[in-house]
Structures are given as structure tokens and as C-alpha cells.
Symmetry: C2
Subunit: 83 residues, 2 copies
């Protein structure tokens, strides 16, 4: 299992309820791809959203977001996790 | 206190030791700016690094990274933190 950060744009002006609803869609598809979402954060001023997830590979994380209807613009494999 | 995500580039090929050394520099300056780093992640393939931090405002987080010698290209205020 690896750790991934995906970056989305396009959430400018989104409410907490809208973001939670989008993230629930991700969670609907996570199990079938072997992915587990750890946390998500969003800035409704810039429209940026970040999701931290564990999964087998970058393609699996990408497929979850595609199935959820909001493909991620960028996904990074986080080799280093630093406290 | 707000939550912030900052995004850095330029860590392509960096080792864990190099990234930990850079992050220690952030932590040297966090207290004087009222900032607390929560976690950092990096992808040495793309060179991207992400830092999650709490702080009073975006300028304080920016100053920490400037003092540490690696200014962040992007800093976002995370109004929403979703589990």
C-alpha cells in the first residue's frame, strides 16, 4: 500500500455540504479499488481540494475519482510521510 | 487558528534525509510565527511536497517557509477539513 495526494480544482465557492457530498461519492467506490481515503481538505476561495488516500497504485486512486464523477487533475505518490 | 496546505516543487530526486532536514528548518521557525506543522509529504519523482500546518494566517505560514530558505509556491487556507 502506498500513500497518495490528489489535487482538484474547481471547488470555488463550494459549501461544506457540497464537498462532503462529493467526498461521500469517493467513499462509495473506494473499497472496490482497494483504496482508503484518510482525509480531505478544501479551500473554497481558490477552489482547490486535496485528498490523502492509501491505495495499491496511482491508477486505482484515479479510477475512484473518475467513478465519483470528479477526476483529479493531479495525483502524487507520497514516498515520504514526515512528522 | 486556521489550517493551511502549502505546496512546494523542486524536490525531485530528494532523499528522505534531505526532506527531513528541510522540514526541521520549518520547525525551527514555527513557534516565533505561531505556526504548528502537523505533517508533511513528498513525492521525489515529481518533486512536489505538501505541508499541513495550523497558524494564525497565511502570511505567518509564508514567513516560516521564507525563513527556512524554501518559500512555498502555493499556500491555501483550508476552510474545510473532511473525514
Amino acid at each position: 500500500m502506498s500513500l497518495f495526494m490528489d489535487v482538484h480544482s474547481g471547488f470555488k465557492g463550494a459549501t461544506r455540504e457540497q464537498l462532503e457530498a462529493e467526498h461521500r461519492k469517493d467513499k462509495q467506490y473506494e473499497k472496490e479499488e482497494g483504496v482508503r481515503f484518510v482525509r480531505a481538505w478544501a479551500d473554497p476561495v481558490s477552489g482547490k481540494a486535496f485528498c490523502l488516500a492509501e491505495g495499491p497504485n496511482i491508477e486505482a486512486v484515479k479510477r475512484v475519482h473518475q467513478k465519483a464523477g470528479h477526476p483529479a487533475e493531479e495525483i502524487y505518490e507520497l514516498k515520504y510521510d514526515i512528522e
